[in-house]
Amino acid sequence: MTILTVAGLTMRFGGLTAVNNVSFTAQQGEITAIIGPNGAGKTTLFNCITGFYKPSSGSITVALGSKNLRLDKLPGHAIARKGRVARTFQNIRLFSGMSVLENLLVAQHNRLQASTGFGVLGILGLGGYRAAERRAIELATHWLAQTGLLERADDPAGALPYGAQRRLEIARAMCTEPLLLCLDEPAAGLNPRESAELNELLLGIRAAGTSLLLIEHDMGVVMKISDHIVVLDHGKKIADGTPADIRSDTAVIAAYLGEGDEDDPDAPLAEATP
């Protein structure tokens, strides 16, 4: 079953077309990866899906059960709440002056806020807020355990090492209980061991029923865990298929090896050329 349908998506910034008529689908319960050289429009596509940009044309539809919801029509903050789509950022964006646990409670803001009766009952200590907070802490504890951050729950988020901050950002996104989790380069800057742990974590999230959409440069991660890969180059989709298909796709190889334009710093085989 399809969870996300992107149809004819175009995003222009003035004269620059960052994403040009891209269409693809992501299946429920699968890990879909978006790859491509630097500047291919991956992050722009992500920002359109998660509501940070309003696309110039095209549609983005998410399937919630039997109902379809147009994400491009929703205001930015409603995408997580109504669209059940969560995201992480390429440059980590944590609430660094708040504790790890607080970060995860902020992620459950809407549910908790509803239990406080617009804050009034909460101030007076009435209503179901206590129970709601206990449930929220349980959910947070669950994801802390999944990401191996349980011992650091009361530490400031900004004091965590880099790899732990990456995992915390994923845990925070998961605390919004999304149906689709969008990860922008989750393996960037991780060492091989952390990268392997990340693979485990992402497979665990998929097994728990959340579909994933990820941008990734680390081919080790992409080829190992993706079920489906979409390749972008210069804003256009050039290939779409299983990892095996993509590996043998001539257009992809050309884009990565830079057929015609020599020095593409991103070409994975560039190191091999003397």
Partner: protein, 424 residues
């Protein structure tokens, strides 16, 4: 040795700058000659003294820099922890203060003044300290509160207790009204627009003479009553003194005012402390930390900012209403930019986000200039120098650490360098 030479060179450079600055101010003096012409005389000795003093001060400072003990984070933690014991002690003192022996009316009056600023500081702390929105026009809400009461009482004969909630609601409405167009701005831009809003309110009050009395202000604003009992000097039935059969005295009214503002300030504090532990308060702090991340988590950024603005404004309105009843007279002169700046300075000096820090800072900002009255013209000089020194020693305010609002195990204080100050 080379270090000493470098220090001397550095001090020499500073002394040279001092020479350039002081030469026209201290080195030259205009005078009148007997014929009535202007004469120019020089004062080399004074100039040399000033430059020499600058040199010495810079040199000593550099020596101290080289030999001072390493900075102890324990100091800031100690100050933060001291709040645990000092805050209740201070509260008890505040409650019994009017009845301590040797306390004069003037002292209680100073207490009322400090407490008003504590309340304003706590109100602004919601906006600046928690939500990280730099508001330079907080006095606007103070003015709205004061004028709400002034106009309602003189036109419709309403008393203090009926007007208090109305003043708060009206100020909160103005907070929302201002917030809607403004809160899409960030940082410096937000600060400038709030500054302008503060000025607009004051100018409207000054110029709308038919309603507000313009620069003449509003007089004869009623004092608050205690369950209908007035605090009049005449005594008699219906007055506080008459009802309890005691001699009327001005101290009764001042003490009553003192307790009103104490309760109002504590209400502000209580609501803020409760809200900090609520989703709303956490969302404010998260906004201060990272607005983009908040949006990705489904937090409605605009509405959350508006609530911070409205709640902060509401407490400003309460404080304004109290100010009007205490003075019995209000005019636009009481609501200048200076007031906004003072309240903001209290919040920043206290350590943005810290409730106890605001109390310390209000005592310093309001109490110290009053206590230094005897120093006359040097008062503001010493006060200004003290503020500069405090901000050098404690750049993030008296209490800069933050306590998490919830913990699985033991809450650990978070040091200031991790905490964002908000981009507005």
């Amino acid at each position: 040795m080379s270090r000493l030479l470098r220090d001397v060179k550095d001090s020499g450079a500073v002394a040279f700058m001092a020479l350039l600055i002081f030469a026209p101010f201290l080195g030259l003096q205009l005078g009148d000659s007997e014929s009535g012409n202007l004469t120019l005389s020089t004062r080399p000795a004074l100039l040399a003294a000033a430059v020499g003093l600058t040199f010495a001060a810079r040199f000593l400072f550099l020596l101290w820099e080289a030999h001072r003990p390493p900075r102890i984070p324990a100091l800031s933690l100690g100050l933060a922890k001291s709040g645990k014991y000092a805050a209740p002690a201070l509260l008890v003192f505040a409650i019994v203060m009017p009845f301590l022996p040797g306390i004069k009316n003037a002292s209680i009056d100073l207490g009322v003044l400090i407490m008003t600023y504590v309340m304003l500081g706590w109100g602004l702390n919601i906006v600046v300290g928690l939500a990280g929105l730099l508001d330079l026009g907080y006095v606007a809400f103070y003015a709205v509160g004061a004028y709400s009461f002034g106009l309602l009482s003189t036109n419709f004969g309403l008393g203090f207790w009926e007007c208090l909630p109305l003043a708060g609601i009206l100020a909160a409405c103005w907070g929302v009204f201002l917030g809607f167009p403004v809160l899409r701005l960030r940082g410096d831009y937000l600060a400038i627009v709030t500054l302008a809003f503060g000025e607009i309110i004051r100018l409207v009050i000054t110029n709308w003479v038919s309603l507000t009395g313009g620069p003449n202000g509003i007089t004869d604003i009623p004092h608050p009553t205690l369950f209908g009992l007035k605090f009049s000097m005449a005594g008699g039935p219906g007055s506080f003194a008459g009802f309890f059969g005691i001699t009327p005295s001005p101290s009764q009214r001042i003490t009553y005012l003192y307790y009103i503002i104490l309760v109002l300030a504590l209400l502000t504090n209580w609501v803020t402390l409760r809200l900090r532990r609520q989703p709303l308060g956490r969302a404010w702090e998260a906004l201060r930390e990272d607005e983009t991340a908040c949006r990705s988590l489904g937090i409605n950024v605009r509405n959350t900012k508006l609530t911070a603005f409205a709640i902060g404004a509401m407490f400003g309105g309460f404080a304004g209403c109290f100010f009007a009843t205490r003075q019995a007279f209000i005019s636009p002169d009481s609501f200048t930019f200076m007031e906004s700046a003072t309240v903001l300075a209290i919040v920043v000096l206290g350590g943005a986000g810290s409730q106890f820090g605001v109390v310390l800072a209000a005592c310093v900002m309001i109490g110290v200039p009053e206590l230094l009255q005897s120093l006359q013209i040097y008062r503001m000089l010493i006060f200004g120098a003290a503020l500069v020194v405090i901000m050098i020693v404690r750049p993030r305010g008296f209490i800069s650490t933050r306590r998490p609002t919830v913990a699985l195990g033991k809450a650990k204080p978070i040091s200031a360098d991790l905490i964002a100050q908000g981009q507005g």
